[in-house]
């Protein structure tokens, strides 16, 4: 008799993911043995010890909290601006063309250039928020515009014939359509956001943050510490992404 749990799709997905992680760790271990220099490629067990040390350090929670506050601040500002301007751009063609250069600049400007400019303009605590905003805003904006543009014209025609007011059209037709696009954009943007914020923190060096911690480990030539912080970042990004996915399902 087959065990019912093996029929569960989620469980199968989990098994494949676990298998992939095990293979990656084995490859990592083999590479560290071949290279045989902790400063170049630290071993998985050395990195694990570093993770435990970092988690137990007194500033760990504060570092993560500070970085998350910056990431979420940039994200929320980009979300609000992206939704507002995206709706203007989606509904009104002239607004779309007026906003196009701004969005293109945001998309095309090199992240490093933006970090340097943010450092010149703002204090080190706030610079990463601006960088996060600049990177996230075009993703959210374009998803909102797409959501509006891809509304089924036949449904719009139906609503006009049935004399459904503009406000109800927005509530019953456009917002549900935007939502499906927006969640996709938000999930993609959230992972990107954390990476960008940490990169900005590495350069701006705010007092206690994940980016600053990366820089300290690098200055101490503690490659295992850099690996450990990278793994912590991956876990946090994964948790944020999953939270958004659960919110989407609800």
């Amino acid at each position: 008799m087959k065990i019912s749990i093996f029929k569960n799709k989620n469980f199968k997905e989990f098994l494949y993911t676990l298998l992939s992680i095990i293979i990656l760790v084995i490859c990592w271990k083999v590479l560290s043995i071949v290279v045989d220099k902790e400063i170049l490629v630290p071993s998985p067990e050395g990195t694990l010890i570093e993770i435990i040390r970092i988690i137990q350090s007194p500033n760990f929670v504060l570092s993560v909290t500070n970085t998350l506050i910056r990431a979420l601040s940039g994200f929320m500002i980009a979300l609000a601006a992206g939704i507002f301007l995206g709706m203007l751009g989606g509904f009104f063609k002239p607004m779309y063309y007026l906003l196009r250069p701004l969005v293109l600049i945001n998309k095309a400007v090199p992240t490093m250039a933006m970090i340097l400019l943010a450092l010149i303009w703002l204090e080190s605590e706030k610079a990463p928020i601006l960088v996060g905003f600049v990177v996230i805003f075009p993703v959210i904006y374009e998803n909102v515009v797409e959501g509006i543009r891809n509304v089924d014209e036949k449904l719009v025609e139906m609503m006009k014939i049935y004399e459904i007011g503009k406000l109800d059209r927005l509530k019953d037709l456009y917002i549900p359509s935007i939502k499906s696009y927006l969640y996709g954009g938000m999930i993609a943007a959230m992972g990107l956001n954390l990476k960008i914020i940490i990169a900005a923190e590495v350069l701006s060096q705010p007092k206690i943050s994940m980016g600053t911690s990366f820089q300290i480990e690098k200055a101490n030539l503690n490659t295992a510490g850099v690996f450990a912080w990278s793994l912590i970042t991956i876990v946090i990004a994964g948790v944020l992404e999953q939270t958004l996915k659960v919110a989407k399902k609800d």
Binding site: K154, E157, M158, I161, Y162, E163, I164, D172, L173
Partner: protein, 238 residues
């Protein structure tokens, strides 16, 4: 409502030319005609979404409902919510009654993706009736359904219409649908579109059977007329 000498051109193409049609209150008028003859253009003019290039419309209806070829339901709303959408003042009791009448009892909380094509179209008919329009336009609403289901849908449409009792303009390709539904059947010609003939059926819709002499004779006339206009193979008869 009266259409007098209605003309509509798209660029150089004359779609409607001197089209005359009278739609009386409380009657169903079925429109039969070859594909691409301008039936949808006529419906859009009746709905007020398209303006004719020439001609007069008298007694224009302010509130016009429309049942499209596709169901056009909002996928994120349930059957109940989709019906309520067009008339938010309608009581839940009234919506429940409409749902019962179109045979969707027990499916109130289902989403369109959980329903069959026929059920979705029944939901869109209930939505149109909830709009409480003075006139209802139906553009081949049962096109995607098989013959038996189509006849069932026609019967349930008659049932709801008898409660509601306002005018319906019903565009179809199916002679049997027109025979069972129409107080009048208007046959359109093609290139350009005008009203070729209007046939009247006097028997009440409730008492009609496709085997009745009157319907058999009317069907024969319709087939003859339509054969002149188009390849008769395009028209199915029982």
């Amino acid at each position: 409502m009266q259409l007098e000498a209605i003309c509509k051109n798209y660029d150089e193409i004359k779609v409607l030319k001197n089209l005359n049609l009278t739609i009386k209150d409380k009657e169903i008028i079925c429109i039969l005609g070859p594909s691409g003859c301008g039936k949808s253009t006529l419906l859009n003019i009746l709905a007020g979404t398209l303006k004719p290039d020439a001609g007069r419309i008298e007694g224009k209806k302010e509130k016009v409902g429309y049942v499209f070829q596709e169901d056009r339901l909002l996928p994120w709303k349930t059957v109940h919510e989709n019906i309520k959408l067009v008339n938010k003042k309608a009581s839940n009791v009234k919506i429940k009654e409409l749902i019962d009448r179109v045979g969707l009892k027990g499916f109130e909380d289902k989403y369109p993706s959980q329903l069959s094509g026929g059920m979705r179209q029944r939901c869109s008919i209930a939505r149109a009736f909830n709009f409480q329009s003075e006139m209802l336009l139906m553009d081949e609403p049962f096109k995607s359904l098989d013959y038996d289901l189509r006849i069932k849908m026609v019967k349930s449409l008659i049932d709801i219409w008898q409660q509601w009792n306002n005018s319906i303009v019903f565009v179809t390709h199916e002679i049997d649908e027109a025979l069972l539904l129409g107080n009048k059947i208007a046959v359109l010609s093609k290139n350009p579109c005008t009203v070729e003939t209007i046939l009247t059926i006097n028997t009440s819709q409730n008492l009609r059977r496709l085997e009745d002499r009157e319907l058999i004779d009317t069907r024969t006339k319709l087939i003859r007329m339509l054969s002149k206009e188009n390849d008769s193979r395009a028209y199915k008869s029982a």
